[in-house]
Symmetry: C2
Subunit: 170 residues, 2 copies
Amino acid sequence: MKKIATVVTSGYEDSELTSPKHALESAGNVVDIIESSADEVIKGEHGDTQKVDLSIDDAKFDDYDALLLPGGGSPDALRVDERYVNFIKKFLMANKPVFAICHGPQFFIQTGLTNELKLTAYTTIRYDLFYAGAEVLDKSVVVDKKHNLVTSRTPDDLADFNREMINLLK
Amino acid sequence: MKKIATVVTSGYEDSELTSPKHALESAGNVVDIIESSADEVIKGEHGDTQKVDLSIDDAKFDDYDALLLPGGGSPDALRVDERYVNFIKKFLMANKPVFAICHGPQFFIQTGLTNELKLTAYTTIRYDLFYAGAEVLDKSVVVDKKHNLVTSRTPDDLADFNREMINLLK
């Protein structure tokens, strides 16, 4: 059993939270949803709702084995706030597994560590990530073994994303 | 009387379209809303609606004196499509006036010309623009005289944005 932090707010792409969360939990892991206030409800862009488990102010990096970053409007809404960026940066610095899909990799740009990473992402932000120094690929899933990073482009890639995420946690 | 093209789709930040459009029209100019299909209705993230004047397939660069790029979710939704990016690139290449606010400057990253520009933008994408080579400032309005570019950060900057936009068109 491993503990996975997911940093997400309203506007997330529904399936990019629900599908990886289900895959992780079905494999016996625990997923905590982290946002500003525990017990608040966040809403996906297509109507899914989720309860926040933990405030970012109470989330302890050492409690988690991995990090999940769903896409949609959520990453750009949260990367304005240094608390989330600093939390995510700790996973990258420590090479703990990070799973990011669609707009999820937008967070990396604010960490200043993007030029170390090999990844894919949603079409539009691949340009942003290229300029920030990443090695950017156009594939359904990219596994950066050096940094324990799994990335995908869109909900269509979820089967590959989930599989590689579970493989990396083994 | 000058003709201003505005490239915008649903999800735009309402006031970042309506306020500059009103300022430009009040000063005697014409503003055309350009999106995929003429006569379709686009909707702002807070409920404003606008009719599309012209399809991007019919929009002719030579017909316009300037370009307006409102923010919100619109720029990231449209920069996936080369037709919009190529249209915007022509204004930058020709040094025709370009007015971009909030997430509007996201379009520039896809043009490959960002490293020529001095600008501001919404907080989160200032990082993306920095890595893409822009000279990035944190000011209510930035006028890049060399490139006839006026940029602002948020709806709070609209008074300054509108004033500099009208000044540049004189």
